[in-house]
Symmetry: C2
Subunit: 294 residues, 2 copies
């Protein structure tokens, strides 16, 4: 179903998995009359154009954002600040700026002080993704049934917030708003920690293999599923760790304590307690699945 265009010109900075998939929403829902893809890599931009994800492409940030009503920043989260800094002089009054970064507090602290009057910033984070990247990985329906977390501040305009809310609703997401700090604390637990865990599990097994023996070839489907997120972009995840360091370090610490406890129960042969711990995890995870089953 096509809606009335929310925007005349939409600019997507970074036409990768997230930016590209959102551009697809803008196009398919008829939310923008023109969609411009902005990026550094010409090959990726050309791919985005070829796939029909965007109408126009440019490597010139200033040109790309000029006259845009909506500017979506979908670059690696650590680059958000410099990209916005470079773009701001060319962004028109009344435009809405939004981002999709996995860390919110740092991004807000970097961007809000720079904002001129009349440019609205709505911090956002679609909780969706795959381990793939680039325009070629963009897909229809990536955000469908997912949550999109918006973390407005007291400076966020009410109208801009409602427009961005509408954008994500059109993408099929359930939009929730949350305090930025709370967002970062929650995501450290349910997303950032699991990525660190997965990377280091693969490294642990690789290390064991390096000491002799074939390990990875004997891994069952479980291991492959379990470590899927270890195929995510290392640069992106190192960036996220740097920007959400405090909460991630805290979660790793807590996690290490749980592992130490499990190891201690094994050392002392307390299988009943170990089984109870496992059962507690199973029931929490089963409840989660039940709750989110569509």
């Amino acid at each position: 179903m096509r809606a009335r265009p929310l925007f005349n010109k939409a600019a997507v900075i970074g036409v990768g998995l997230i930016g590209g998939s959102l551009a697809i929403v803008l196009r398919e829902k008829g939310l923008a009359n023109k969609i411009v893809g902005i990026g550094r890599g010409l090959r990726n931009l050309k791919e985005a154009k070829r796939l029909g994800i965007v109408d126009e492409i440019t490597q010139d940030l200033a040109e790309g954002v000029t006259d845009a009503d909506l500017i979506v920043i979908a670059v690696p989260v650590l680059k958000t600040k410099s990209v916005v800094e470079e773009a701001l002089p060319h962004i028109k009054r009344g435009a809405i700026l939004t981002d999709v970064g996995s860390v919110k507090k740092d991004v807000i602290d970097a961007i809000e002080p720079m904002l001129p009057k009349g440019v609205n910033f709505v911090p956002g984070h679609p909780v969706a993704g795959t381990e793939n990247s680039g325009a070629g990985a963009a897909m229809r329906g990536l955000f469908k049934g997912r949550r999109c977390i918006l973390t407005p501040t007291k400076r966020t305009g009410r109208k801009a917030l409602s427009v961005i809310r509408r954008l994500w609703q059109e993408a099929g997401s359930e939009v929730v708003t949350m305090d930025a700090r709370e967002h970062d604390r929650v995501l450290a637990a349910v997303s950032h920690l699991p990525h660190v865990i997965a990377y280091e599990l693969v490294n642990t097994v690789s290390d064991a293999e390096a000491r002799g023996g074939a390990f990875l070839k004997y891994s069952a489907g479980g291991f492959k599923d379990f470590t899927r997120i270890a195929s995510s972009s290392p640069e992106m995840w190192a960036d996220i760790c740097s920007m959400n360091r405090r909460f991630i370090v805290e979660m790793i610490r807590r996690y290490e304590k749980r592992l130490k406890r499990a190891r201690g129960l094994m050392d002392s042969g307390d299988w009943d307690s170990l089984c109870r711990d496992f059962a507690k995890a199973k029931s929490a995870r089963d409840a989660l699945i039940k709750e989110t089953k569509r």
Copy 2:
């Protein structure tokens, strides 16, 4: 394609996910003239009968194994010893006994000393499974394209080994043989450790939630996939931990060291090294997927 029956009577002790799925192979490939399901729970046995997984069911172990040419032990691994002990007086000379346990050295040490002359034991472990259990979870093709590891000892008869190898080949598995100790070391890394990790990740997030805040509802698909194995049977995994304690504890220790290193890199802001560690994991995991892609 139906093969010539390898067995007149096959007895499957424990008609759950693995035992049941193997019974389906025996039937569909015509490998046994009669398949008897043996178990404690009458409801599960009746379900197995109703689903056509087995021809006959009994709660009487002695009766079930009498005259069987093949006896598959598919009970929780910690119960293997007592089940075999109880069954042995009723097992005929020339019969082949095999198991499907996730731990091999302990099982072999428990069983081999009890074996009378003429009863052949072939220790096995199909590296397959889901987080579900019971006869209702049994399925066609569960072992297809999976590895089945046989860990023969110097007492394992050559003919019995080749029959069991054939059985798993008929199931569609790639059969490899391996030393039992090596099996336990490898599986501790690629299967047992990941289960402990998944259980304790869910517990870590639940603990955080208990301290205030909604965490689990904001988890994306990644978290759900990642923690799938945390829905596995707590009893089964506590048993596996107890039987393969030494290697699992060692792997947890090594894993804790990797986590501590990652945390240290974050604490000191060494993002380049962190990124290199993540990249190393990504390339190992990508190579694994490439290698096993069918």
